[in-house]
């Protein structure tokens, strides 16, 4: 489907920070018309920097220091500011990760979509509006004629992401840079957007750089894949070849993490008999809005119960209710038969100790001005009255438990990587000797290889300490691997709560079915098979 002249030809691209650190190192890209190249790698691999550099744009603190960037034969690095502006948006357009952040909150969507073609002098405002409406329609947006009159905050995340695709296509560019365009979306929304983006790229024969960390997603859209690490190329090849016969060990590891998800199952050895936590018909609301509606749940000693659902389904609110952060308006929470006070303020120190919480984003869950020793030492002192040497000894023991060196006691959070920070958060929770740990998406902010290590750690800790986990996530692959039982949450209610095997084996609640089918599989024909299934009315 791709003809032979490259529309984008990047040679020896090098990007450095002002301090002189190289973040993109001699990258070559050849992109033909109508071709999609997947850029794969973990955070810090330089994927986004390359995507932006293709538009001769560097973020604050970075500079493009070497290489040529040819768009349709013209080296855009040699152009002056006006020449570069002329290329941006018109020949090459950008789709960002978070549409909610990429749309100006003070302007109507139609104004932002029409701005490009009008400013570039391609269309009159009237023509641009007609074209925008056509794009809205082909992107399946509701009421395409009037959709644009909305402000960004008046539409959902999935709709905005599609509107941003329309904005990128407004000048009919030759090249699209898609920077994790579906990462911020829920699985069921992600598949919709993925289908539409693929359709869009094919219909207008646009070349695309598709940046993502998710191999299963890139498998659906890319003709070729380039794997990046620390700003350097690891390998490049046809999508099938890279996914199924990776040449480099780093690629193999990335692929293996995804593959493990499909095969690994949870062991039932650690499972105890005793029910420790029971949530009974509990309801909670934020103001007039009921977020959790008559939910009942029980967790046994040594058990992992996963709670899955999309954003806004009430998963995290359930965690806040159990920990006492949000007092429920109705229902009861028992721990080993004893009723816990609804509000955290009324709970005894002992009641606070037995349930601990680990947050989604470790970067903001740690006080940046406290050293690791203080962060972990605080609950040791608070719950067990230890002080001085005893605290330090216990902190070191906890660091060993989460597989960090003892001398991390004096480190500040800023000096730690994301995975290390999450280990500190886990150590802080363990410092209280809890019986139940609530894990609120503990791996979703981490890169796949790091997330894998954290999952292994959590499993080991459960086996050693007999902990019970309530594991909140939207990632069904993770659920399959670690949860004994799984609850599926939709609009504040459980639509299913059963052993994980039975949840996945079916028969399913229609929503569970939808969730399971929406998880991308690392097969290039997966999206087609889903489409075929839908066409049959599945």
């Amino acid at each position: 489907m791709a003809d032979e002249t490259p529309i984008l030809k990047i040679h020896g691209l090098t990007v450095e920070t002002i301090q002189g650190n190289t973040i993109v190192d001699h990258i070559d890209i050849d992109l033909k018309r109508g071709e999609v190249l997947g850029l794969i790698g973990e955070s810090g691999a330089g994927k986004s920097t390359i995507g932006l550099a293709a538009m001769t744009y560097a973020r604050a603190g970075c500079r493009i220091t070497g290489g040529t960037i040819e768009i349709d034969g013209t080296d855009v690095r040699l152009l002056d500011a006006a020449g570069r502006r002329d290329v941006r948006g018109r020949r090459i357009a950008y789709i960002a990760q978070s549409a909610a952040a990429a749309f100006n909150p003070a302007q109507r969507i139609i104004d932002q979509v029409c701005e490009g073609p009008v400013v570039h002098g391609l269309m009159s405002r009237h023509e641009a509006e007609a074209w925008a409406i056509e794009l809205f329609r082909s992107l399946d947006l509701p009421k395409p004629e009037t959709f644009g009159r909305k402000y960004p905050h008046q539409s959902s995340g999935g709709q905005l992401q599609r509107a941003m695709a329309a904005m990128a296509m407004s000048c009919r560019p030759d090249i699209l840079v898609l920077d994790e365009p579906t990462t911020a979306l829920d699985v069921t929304t992600q598949i919709e957007v993925l289908i539409l983006l693929k359709h869009l790229i094919r219909e207008y024969r646009t070349a695309a750089l598709y940046i993502t960390h998710d191999l299963a997603v890139v498998a659906q859209v890319a003709d070729r894949i380039k794997v990046l690490r620390h700003g350097r190329q690891v390998e490049e090849g046809a999508t099938d070849a890279v996914l199924h016969h990776p040449r480099e060990s780093y690629t193999s590891r990335l692929v293996a993490v995804r593959a493990a998800a499909a095969s690994e199952r949870v062991s039932l050895d650690t499972l105890g008999e005793e029910t420790i936590l029971s949530v009974e018909a509990t309801t909670a609301a934020y103001g007039p809005l009921t977020v959790v509606n008559r939910v009942s749940l029980d967790i046994r000693h040594g058990e992992t119960v996963a709670v899955v659902g999309e954003s806004g389904s009430g998963k995290s609110t359930l965690a806040r209710i159990i920990t006492g952060l949000l007092p429920p308006s109705d229902g009861r929470i028992r721990f080993k038969g004893r009723v816990l006070s609804k509000s955290l303020a009324d709970r005894s120190r002992e009641d606070k100790r037995i349930i601990q919480l680990v947050y989604q984003i470790p970067d903001v869950a740690l006080n940046p001005r406290q050293a690791v020793g203080e962060i972990i030492g605080r609950p040791v002192h608070f719950y067990f009255g230890k002080s001085g040497q005893q605290v330090t000894a216990r902190v070191k023991e906890l660091l060993r438990l989460v597989e960090l060196p003892e001398d991390y006691v004096s480190r500040m959070p800023m000096q730690l990587s994301g995975g290390q920070k999450q280990r500190i958060c886990i150590a802080r929770a363990l410092a209280a000797n809890p019986e139940l740990v609530i894990l609120d998406e503990p791996t979703s902010a981490l890169d796949p290889l790091v997330a894998e290590e954290i999952l292994k750690l959590l499993k080991r800790l459960q086996a050693e300490l007999g902990l019970a986990y309530m594991f909140i996530t939207h990632d069904l692959d993770v659920v399959r691997r670690i949860a004994h039982r799984t609850a599926v949450m939709l609009k504040g209610q459980f639509v299913a709560f059963d052993s994980t095997d039975r949840i996945f084996a079916g028969p399913h609640h229609p929503y569970t079915e939808q969730l399971i089918n929406a998880v991308p599989v690392m097969r290039t024909d997966w999206l087609e098979s889903v489409l075929a299934l839908r066409a049959k009315g599945g």
């Binding site: 932006l52 744009y57 290329v87 952040a101 905050h153």
Partner: protein, 315 residues
Amino acid sequence: MLKLIATRAILGLATLFAVSVLIFVCTQFLPGDVAAAVLQQSATKETLAAFRRELGLDVPAYIRFFDWLWRALHGDLGVALTNGRVIIDVIRPRFANTMFLAGYAAIISVPLSVGLGIVAAINEGRPIDRISNIITLMTISVPEFFVGYVLIAIFTVELGLFPSLATVDSDTGFFDRIYATTLPALTLTLLVAAHMLRMTRTSVLSVMSSPYIEMAFLKGLTRSRVVAHHALPNAAAPIITVVALNLAYLVVGVVVVEAVFTYPGIGQLMVDAVTKRDVPVIQACGLVFAAVFVGLNTIADILAILVNPRLKYRR
């Protein structure tokens, strides 16, 4: 949104009421006694008591407060104790003078400092940004009478362009007024410009680091279009707030500047009243100041709601 605006307006009124209580209570604690101040040597015990009764000072304070407030709401601010003139008639021309000067200063300072703030933000780190920052920082760091005297030294003594005394009366024509008040207006401009300029610059810059600004650049827009169309509307709310604060300062904070240029404004009147212990006049001036201050800030709050589409159009 209407509910939100109504809430702001009601809050404004409540604030004004609280301030009026405060003004009334504070004037009760002013050192000295008006009866003693007026009667001076002839103040025997009996004459003092009689004079107080005549002034209504023997009635409980809360009754006097509501009485005063009720009359004030009807435009009756009472009679000056010292010279027996109707206060509203004394205040009206003075207030008009103050508003004229404040308006003159505002017309120069607001566009100048908001404009310079935007220019500074667009040219962050370049010479024009640094120079405008340093100059406005200097003018805000020195006392206002000093700024006034420096301007007099330059424009009156050296250049002979403008008069050092801003004497106006009811017969002064518009252009003569402008001529007479140019130096005080410039002094006020220098005093308020720094605050507005820096806030504008900071607000625009903080918006400039948003992802939607990057997006605007990636659409191939010029820097000035990005600032005007994408950054400024989102930076409007804090700018409106700081402009309102400074406008209020132009009215309320002019006392010293009026003294330097002997301008017959309301600030002078209040200072005179304080020295003479003329409580009704003090109360009246305080009330006028409070009304201007609260009014401007309430308007700013309402404008900030109106420019925010998230508040204007619900989901």
